[in-house]
């Protein structure tokens, strides 16, 4: 079995360096640019010809380019960095040393102050791989003999921010596969969303503010993913939260929007209690009360120097933070509400980036969770269970939504559940990989839904959509690609990452599939159910939006709140038409990514036999991203992918699609054509059929009622009763609890204020006056304006006090 202590022999060494490629060392420029852009837009935005959008786009574009180059530099660094003689050097970067004395003199983010932060670097000659350490064995095996000398080495740059009470607060960057990946995702999607927004929110009354906050958000998110210490993570975490608040409440004139913003912020704050408690526990238990450094904390945990109790507390508390930020049951309710914000915001913040902050945080502090939750060798734990429940629960909810953005929102919750579950079962790479692929196809879907809504001025699929395929073919195709990717059909992105998660559960024993860190059979089955659900609800969504006939356009007034400003600018009320290039181009780009990104982590044994050279496409993502073998990562085991699992899970997804397809594209569509209306479901499908008289005939007509069983009872129940019950629970129990908690807090506040504060505490003060006032008047009476009254009170008070002190001191 895997053991913590197996790593002890090697992890006296910290596999973190400071010298590296210029771009890796200077990754802090990437968040800095949008931050500058924020300030510039804030002060000068309104005076510029494009109202500030140009600054934001330029800054994010440059950041994106830098992120790409940084990513490239990382790939190079990962493959070529060589350790020898106790220090590291980058054999390929020419200016790595030359820039040493030059950098950082003009800026506090890096520089000479880093010298004292230097981690000891010792040779890792690759021979320390224990026999039982599966992960390293795998890593070593797959990288081959030569690269054994190239362990995973992160790049860290730290400078002292300030110091208090003997504790140094650092600010710095930790560049490794995970952060590089996040840099790429965040900057790319942010750039696309910026471009998309110039059209989408064009003409909005707070256009400039919108871009300012987009910039601030991008900066905060990049700051967060680059942070090298947990304090910085908290800072970034809160900052993205406040940007989310500001952007959800972008149209704060309407109360529902500001309500949603408040709900988001306060729900997140609830989780932040966990974050604070967890991080503080880590700071003292693993950081020794002296350092916030992520790497040091992780190293301490990996080396087994931290008490298990502290880790359990920290992991559980941080799980609460994940539950709020990443929308896990039971704190997920804010996320669907957050759809009140503009759609580009939903795509960027509430689908691709901010909501995965929780997942990122778990991934970053993985040793804490791995040890604290005892992930290895177990078959259930808090994180994985929360993820699994979320995954299925939210998937069911997505069925009953009429609002296209809410379908996507629940879908996001569900997919985040996948990621949390993956982390919970020890499939680190799978989780991060799913985060990566999901960002693209979900942003694609959101932007696509925004494109549709832009055309029909509404988000209501049943009332205002239908048949959009005819009007918006390009949006349709991109949306289709996104849906297929989300549904997890090969070879699109979602398939690969979802499959890896299922593999990682270790619950599959057929055809040579192996266990990962434990036997998470329950989670495997939940994952399978989730796959079917995802496929089915996306099919429903596709049908309601793009097929049938357009149901809108008959003079209704309730426009989607999203688009009113945008619309008045356009001023058209005819048939919907395809969106402009600034909306479509981001969709194309994201569709492309949705198709392709799954290929970056092909499982071994696919397409290139057993050759595992760096040139192959197999497990590249794992190779570059997972810090396996580094000093700050636990010894996780990797499951071996199996064909059987891939086939079964695909079959399940197809089954989900098939059922939904049959219901909508066949049954409903047929009925629509019969009635000449564009229907959104079967009217009374259950009750209008099958009386006993024509049982046999009907049985045949209905194909032994299998359809009925599937669509009517199983799907109907699932889609109807169960989902509705789940939604009811969501709305009436969970949501209500949040509301009631809020109301109760207010009520408690009122009671405390009126009864205790004004009654007891204040009353005590008042009655002190009353006691001395023999006529027993109320407090106001002592304020009679008569000096003698005041004097009487004063003397009485003095006497009582003096008496009290005599009793205390003298007697």
């Amino acid at each position: 079995m895997l053991s913590l202590f197996a790593l002890e022999s090697v992890s006296e060494v910290s596999t973190v360096v400071q010298d590296a490629n210029w771009f890796l060392e200077h990754a802090w420029i990437i968040p800095l640019l949008p931050a500058i852009s924020f300030v510039l837009i804030l002060f000068f935005g309104k005076r510029l010809p494009k109202k500030g959008a140009e600054i934001g786009i330029t800054a994010v574009a440059v950041s994106f380019l830098l992120a790409v180059v940084t990513g490239w530099a990382w790939l190079d660094h990962r493959d070529n960095v060589v350790f020898d003689g106790g220090h590291s050097e980058s054999v390929v970067v020419d200016d790595g040393h030359g820039s040493d004395d030059g950098y950082g003199t003009d800026d506090g983010h890096s520089g000479d102050a880093t010298a004292d932060e230097e981690h000891a670097i010792v040779v890792d000659d690759g021979t320390t791989n224990g026999d039982d350490r599966v992960s390293l064995a795998v890593a070593a095996a797959e990288t081959g003999g030569k690269t054994e000398a190239h362990p995973y080495v992160a790049v860290q740059q730290t400078t002292q921010w300030f110091q208090s009470g003997g504790v140094e607060f650092g600010a710095g960057i930790l560049v490794d596969g995970l952060s590089v990946m996040m840099l790429f995702v965040v900057t790319l999607i942010s750039l696309l969303v910026h471009i998309y927004s110039t059209d989408y929110v064009g003409g909005d009354r707070r256009y400039t503010h919108f871009f300012a906050f987009l910039s601030l958000f991008t900066a905060s998110m990049l700051f967060f993913v680059l942070s090298d210490n947990i304090l910085q993570m908290i800072v970034g975490w809160e900052l993205v939260g406040v940007c989310s608040f500001a952007l959800i409440g972008h149209w704060w004139e309407e109360k529902p929007n500001s309500d949603a913003a408040l709900k988001a912020f306060i729900t997140n704050r609830v989780g932040d209690v966990g974050l604070l408690v967890g991080m503080i526990t880590l700071f003292f238990a693993a950081g020794g009360g002296t350092t916030f450094d992520t790497v040091s904390i992780n190293e301490q945990v990996v080396q087994g120097n931290v008490s298990h109790t502290a880790l359990v507390v920290a992991a559980a508390a941080l799980t609460a933070a994940v539950m709020s930020k990443s929308g896990q049951f039971i704190l997920h309710t804010w996320l669907p509400d957050a759809m009140a914000g503009p759609t580009p915001v939903s795509a960027l913040i509430h689908a691709a980036t901010m909501v995965v902050a929780g997942i990122f945080m778990v991934a970053r502090l993985y040793p804490v969770f791995f040890e604290g939750m005892s992930i290895g060798g177990s078959s259930i734990n808090l994180l994985s269970t929360v993820g699994a429940v979320t995954l299925v629960g939210a998937g069911l909810l997505a069925f009953v939504q009429d609002d296209i953005k809410k379908v996507l929102a629940y879908s996001t919750v569900s997919q985040l559940g996948y990621m949390a579950m993956a982390l919970g079962v020890g499939a680190w790479t799978a989780a991060v990989f799913h985060l990566f692929t999901h960002a693209f196809f979900k942003a694609n879907l959101f932007l696509g839904s925004g494109s549709v809504a832009h055309a029909v001025h509404s988000f209501d699929m049943k009332k205002d959509m239908g048949g959009m395929k005819k009007y918006m073919p390009r949006t349709f195709w991109t949306f289709l690609i996104g849906s297929v990717a989300l549904a997890g059909l090969p070879p699109l992105a979602g398939f690969w990452s979802k499959d890896e998660i299922l593999v990682g559960t270790g619950g599959w024993g057929l055809f040579g599939g192996t266990g990962g860190n434990g036997a998470y059979t329950f989670h495997l089955s939940m994952g399978m159910i989730g796959a079917a659900l995802t496929a089915a609800y996306m099919t429903r969504c596709m049908y309601l939006t793009f097929f049938g006939e357009w149901r809108g356009g008959h003079g209704h007034d309730d426009h989607g709140h999203d688009s009113h400003d945008a619309h008045d600018a356009h001023g058209h009320h005819g048939e919907p038409h395809e969106s402009g290039p600034r909306i479509l181009v981001p969709l194309y780009v994201l569709s492309g990514f949705s198709i392709l990104v799954g290929l970056v982590n092909l499982p071994p044994g696919l397409f290139s036999g057993s050759a595992k050279s760096p040139a192959s496409w197999q497990e590249r993502f794992l190779h570059y991203m997972e810090p396996a073998g580094s000093s700050y990562f636990p010894a996780v085991a990797h499951g071996t992918p199996s064909w059987s699992l891939a086939i079964v899970s695909t079959a399940i997804a197809v089954l989900g699609i098939g059922m939904a397809f049959w219901y909508y594209f066949v049954r409903v569509d047929r009925l629509s054509k019969q009635t000449g209306q564009s229907l959104t479901g079967l009217p009374n499908g259950l009750t209008s059929r099958n009386r006993l008289a024509k049982a046999g005939h009907t049985l045949l007509v209905n194909k032994y009622y299998l359809d009925h069983l599937y669509t009517g009872i199983i799907a109907g129940f699932t889609k109807g009763r169960l989902a509705r019950a789940a939604y009811w629970v969501n709305q009436n129990v969970l949501d209500r609890t949040v509301n009631v908690a809020g109301e109760t807090a207010v009520r408690a506040g009122r009671v405390v204020y009126e009864r205790i504060d004004q009654g007891v505490v204040d009353g005590l003060v008042n009655s002190a006056g009353r006691v001395s006032d023999s006529t027993g008047q109320e407090l106001r009476k002592i304020n009679s304006g008569q000096v003698q009254n005041y004097a009487a009170l004063m003397f009485a008070g003095a006497a009582v006090l003096a008496g009290a002190f005599i009793i205390l001191f003298a007697l």
């Binding site: 001395s772 006032d773 023999s774 006529t775 003698q788 009254n789 009487a792 003397f795 009485a796 003095a798 006497a799 009582v800 003096a802 008496g803 005599i806 003298a810 007697l811």
Partner: protein, 177 residues
């Protein structure tokens, strides 16, 4: 009270007469003081006050502070009381008995007074249980004046300024215009 009695008995041989005299004066003073705050007639109150002030002067003599006693008689009984009487006349304050001279706060005020006295008494017994004052010889006016004009010159000047200010203030306030 036991400590006081013990102390008194121990002291009896020396100071019997003095103590008896002190007790008498004190009794008179307390009674007079009570009358000051209870009598309905303002002029009577002023006269009872004279009794108290005179008693205080006697107490000063007991303590050997002759100069203070003399000043007390001169300034208080000579000037302050006269001032009071003038005030009584100028404000046409009631000369006869008047039930309403005491307000409705009587009960509370009594309690406050008793409480204060109790607290002080306890504190005094606790702190100065059997400290004795030994008066060898009265303070001469010489010593008093010497220290006023050397050690305490600054407060003295301050008091003189204060008196001047009070003088001007009283004129400004009472001026008719």
């Amino acid at each position: 009270m036991s400590s006081l009695l013990a102390a008194v008995s121990a002291d009896a041989d020396l100071m019997v007469a003095q103590n008896v005299f002190f007790a008498l004066i004190s009794l008179v003073m307390v009674i007079a003081a009570v009358r000051v705050v209870t009598t309905g007639n303002v002029v009577h109150a002023a006269l009872w006050l004279v009794v108290v002030l005179a008693g205080v002067a006697v107490q000063f003599l007991f303590l050997g502070a002759e100069f203070v006693a003399v000043t007390q008689v001169l300034v208080y009984i000579g000037a302050v009381i006269v001032l009071f009487l003038f005030g009584v006349m100028l404000t046409k304050a009631s000369m006869g008995d008047d039930e309403s001279v005491v307000n409705e706060r009587r009960g509370m005020a009594g309690m406050v007074g008793l409480l204060l006295f109790a607290v002080m008494a306890i504190a005094l017994f606790d702190s100065f249980g059997d400290k004795r004052v030994v008066i060898d010889e009265p303070q001469s006016v010489n010593t008093v004046s010497d220290s006023i004009f050397s050690q305490y010159i600054v407060p003295f000047e301050a008091v003189s300024v204060l008196l001047l200010a009070a003088l001007i203030g009283a004129i400004v306030l009472a001026r008719k215009d």
